[in-house]
Symmetry: C2
Subunit: 319 residues, 2 copies
């Protein structure tokens, strides 16, 4: 038996093993999941959640690590959730990054957690917000969520942050890639990392153009800043923190932060509800009902819509 | 009022406007959608569905066009469903490709349809199988489904084909990209296009290695062939058709074709059912129930799971 109240209390005290245990319970959809979530509810809502996304190779891990250092200097407790197969946290990256991050490993004010990407749609989007909740409830002031910027589910995760940072690097054709993945639309702050390389100014200009930042905006509108950094040497990182704090202040002033959090919670609830309903369908297919319907469709005896009606009836009427 | 039986009859006769109309009804989730699907059910199951996927720039459209020509030579009726923002069919590609495809536009034995990618998860995966059903019911012998090979939803669409073709081109780092997107696992046939370029042999070798094609397999197992093509000059395209026909024969011999179609139908039904249930949740949020729950979560008064329980109860008990 897991003593959930004790675990939550230990997590509040900043014990990393308790935090790790809670996230594992959440991630693995353990029987205690609901008890954990209920216990955390009154403790959440304090963390500032920053999403960082970008193509592989732009320096997300290095930037994340530099941001951790910057926030630690101001005494903040920092949580890092790395949702990235190429991240050092999940073991796929360069030794340099790993060493870089390991300096934070011994800091009790930093909690680092990696999360493997799941194979099915919605899987990750479902687990990440719960892990964020654990870090929030454990007293993190800032949570950095690092995701690799390809695919819809990563965009979805990034959209669950209070502030989304999109990273680019010169000469990687990132502009096009980013536009394709739809991540250009989600940035509140843009970072052109590796700004000591050729083409950094061109990348910033291209970005400025693509985002229409030169155009006039209504007063009070947020104009996403483009910050140039060399994260490996911590250059420009304080400016990123400054941009983040400005965005946060702007959101609070305009009621955007509360609105984003409501939208995030609504999305979270909907995802969980849909997952639960999907599971009920899965239970139905346990008695071969789904398989039998599929056979009838292949045989041309019914169509997918009539078949779906039967499934829905089965779920909603307990049939 | 739409006369669905008449439209279906005209589509059977190969009238492109009727086919276009049916797909539009299906894509737009028109009120007639269910009637269309019911009318098509007994007419489907004859088409051989081939999925083609790969990164932008590998020559998917050119290869698709060359395959259309090859199949037309054997008198087959061919449907093309292009699910790709960079495809000529949806207007984003090079003039050369457009001209190339336009030769088929006047051929009554070819039906070409583009499909825009949707913004939300599951949207496209939901519409594409229905469009395939229309083309199948309209009497296409072969349906080529061209998708851009990035992201989970494209992989999902490709997995709904009878045979999946993964395209690569030399010198694009495609191996890594493909592995990342998970598309390397889905290929039944691999095509290294632009094989007249430097590095084609290296790409084929790398692919051969990554797929473990050098390793021994159980007798009767399918060993995905790697075909080198220069689609722009139709070189190797007959070999691709041959590989497709071999795969189809192998699937029929081993009961794999029927199994894949059953799995596809099951997935389709499940997707429709989940979408229907999601819509019911959407209806609930119409009366601000979801919003109210979200506010209570943000305030720490409840957690997402308890909130989701309320939503699910509302859906399943009509509450």
């Amino acid at each position: 038996m897991v003593d959930v109240p004790q675990l939550v209390e230990q997590a509040r005290q900043g014990r990393p093993r308790a935090v790790a245990r809670l996230i594992s319970l959440v991630e693995g959809a353990a029987p205690e999941l609901r008890e954990v979530m209920a216990a955390l509810a009154p403790l959440t809502g304090n963390a500032y959640v920053v999403g960082l996304t970008g193509s592989p190779g732009v320096g997300k891990s290095t930037t994340t690590s530099a941001l951790v250092t910057a926030y630690r200097k101001t005494g903040k407790r920092v949580g890092v959730l790395a949702v990235d197969p190429s991240s050092p946290f999940s073991g796929g990256a360069l030794l340099g990054d790993r060493v870089r991050m390991s300096e934070h490993a011994s800091d009790p004010g930093v909690y680092i957690r990696s999360m493997a990407t799941r194979g099915h749609l919605g899987g990750l989007a479902w687990a990440a917000p719960q892990a964020i909740r654990v870090l929030d409830g454990a007293g993190c002031d800032v949570i950095l969520v690092e995701t690799v910027g390809v695919g819809q589910s990563e965009v979805e995760i990034a959209s669950q942050a209070d502030t989304s940072v999109v990273l680019l690097a010169p000469g990687m054709g990132d502009g096009i890639q980013a536009a394709k993945a739809g991540i250009l639309e989600i940035g509140d702050v843009y970072v052109v990392n590796k700004a000591d390389r050729d083409g950094a100014d061109a990348t910033a200009r291209e970005l400025n153009h693509m985002l229409g930042l030169g155009e006039s905006r209504a007063p009070g509108d947020w104009r996403p800043p483009i910050v140039k950094t060399v994260a490996a040497r911590s250059e420009g990182v304080d400016e990123v923190v400054e941009a983040l704090e400005k965005h946060r202040a702007w959101m609070e002033e305009h009621g955007v932060l509360a609105e984003r959090r409501r939208a995030r919670a609504a999305h979270e609830v909907e995802t969980i509800a849909v997952t639960a309903l999907r599971e009920r369908i899965g239970d139905l297919s346990g008695d071969r009902r789904l398989e039998a319907l599929a056979e009838r469709i292949v045989a041309g005896e019914t169509d997918p819509y009539r078949a779906a009606d039967e499934l829905v009836d089965g779920v909603t009427n307990g049939g």
